[in-house]
């Protein structure tokens, strides 16, 4: 039974029960993931999403890369076929959530104040304000930041990182942790490429390839003349696996964050 929300999902063993590792004199060998508590909560969120057959996608980027605009264009394109919900993370204001709600989609704002990232506990609270049973697809828009969100599993199935053409095409080299944790990289605002000619999508792709994950990269433009077909195709491909037991779990198993927990767990066994 979930201690926080009273739902009927069983939790994996908590940190207390794991601490019984080897002792030598007064030295206790622990070998426990430092974010074990967060990861446990994330696993719990993921179980909720799986139970309701909701695909959860975590959107990350620097501030102003166009996460909310991409979401708005996505909602317009998909709302007739899929039921979408959004969790918005921001330091201050609920402006983004209001933009999403204007499209008739349920959106919960998490105002993190000074915290530079979302964590599993905040997503858990927000998740219970959403009608999960009535959703197909949940977007979690993380706080705009390429450093902090990378290490915190929220329970999402997939990580998507946006890289706008108004940024440097060497961002994957500068922020390898977040780009390595991505299942998809979206080069956004490509309608500005003609004026932002120092951004070379080829260089960005080469930098991403150098992170060794084979992460796919696509291009989008969300405003003026929206061009998000590749992005919609990618989402559709993920959604088509819906309903096959455990498929989303296998998707999320590719995520380095989930793998980290699994491997740490194996090391303890």
């Amino acid at each position: 039974m979930c201690q926080t929300c009273g739902c009927a999902i069983t939790l994996p063993p908590s940190a207390e029960t794991v601490a019984a590792a080897g002792v030598e004199g007064s030295v206790v060998d622990v070998l426990q993931n430092l974010l074990a508590e967060n990861d446990r909560a994330a696993g719990h969120n993921r179980a909720h999403f799986d139970d309701h057959d909701v695909l959860a996608i975590n959107l990350m980027s620097s501030p102003g890369a166009g996460k909310t605009s991409l979401l708005e264009a996505t909602i317009l394109a998909l709302e007739s076929r899929y039921r979408i919900g959004v969790i918005e993370g921001d330091l201050e204001t609920d402006n983004d959530a209001r933009r999403i709600r204007a499209h008739g989609v349920p959106a919960v704002q998490i105002t993190t104040g000074t915290a530079c990232h979302l964590d599993a506990a905040s997503v858990h609270r927000a998740m219970h304000e959403l009608p999960l049973a009535e959703l197909d697809l949940l977007f979690i828009e993380n706080v705009g930041n390429l450093v902090c969100p990378a290490g915190f599993d929220l329970g999402q199935h997939l990580n998507v990182t946006l890289l706008s053409v108004t940024e440097g095409d060497d961002k994957p080299l500068k922020y390898p942790v977040i780009f390595r944790a991505s299942d998809l990289v979206v080069v956004s605002k490509t309608d500005l490429l003609e004026v932002m000619d120092d951004f070379d999508p080829g260089r960005a792709a080469a930098a991403l390839a150098g992170l060794g994950q084979g992460t796919p990269m696509i291009q989008t433009a969300s405003r003026r003349t929206p061009s998000i077909a590749a992005w919609l195709d990618w989402i559709e491909a993920q959604l088509q696996m819906r309903g096959r037991a455990g498929v989303y779990r296998r998707i999320s198993a590719r995520n380095p964050l989930v793998r980290r927990r699994t491997e740490t767990g194996a090391a303890q066994a």
Binding site: A15, E16, A19, V23, S26, V27, V28, D29, V30, L31, Q32, N33, L34, L35, A36, E37, N38, G113, T114, A115, C116, H117, D119, N145, V147, C148, A150, G151, F152, P172, L173, K174, P176, V177, I178, R180, A207, A209, G210, L211, G212, Q213, G214, P256, R260, T264
Partner: protein
């Protein structure tokens, strides 16, 4: 500016407390290391209490370059946030391993740069990180 805040925060840490510091630092720079430090301190406190230890002498953590946690930021957070708890007088030892990948094509292991995780034997672009992404509490030494 950031340097000033850090120095100032460090100097005033004892008076203003960790929460205010989080506020000050959080508004200036990215400090998820504060969250990681909080998690570290609560894990350590839990184990110390379980074993009936009053204090902790030494904490050893493993922080890989690919963990996304900056050892210096973690240390700075630790210096301030440990006040008043089981770890108040503990030494923090941070171990960091080199980044190592295993090639999915040829199976070779190679040591790589943090942002160039390709096989150095065959040049393969599909690899698995086998070291360097650690974010672990390795051990603690208790005062019994």
């Amino acid at each position: 500016m950031i340097r000033w805040i850090k120095t100032s925060a460090h100097r005033h840490g004892l008076y203003v407390g960790a929460h205010t510091l989080l506020h000050v630092l959080g508004s200036i720079s990215a400090v998820h290391e504060m969250s990681v430090c909080q998690a570290l301190l609560s894990q350590v406190a839990q184990i110390a209490r379980q074993r009936g230890a009053g204090a902790v002498d030494r904490i050893t953590v493993q922080i890989g370059p690919l963990s996304g946690v900056d050892p210096e930021q973690l240390r700075r957070a630790f210096e301030v946030m440990r006040a008043g708890g089981e770890s108040a007088a503990a030494a923090l030892v941070i171990e960091t391993a080199a980044v190592e990948v295993r090639c999915l094509a040829c199976g070779a292991d190679s040591e790589t740069a943090v942002n160039r995780l390709v096989c150095r034997a065959c040049g393969g672009y599909r690899t698995r990180v086998i070291a360097g992404d650690e974010l672990r509490l390795r051990s603690i030494e208790l005062q019994m």
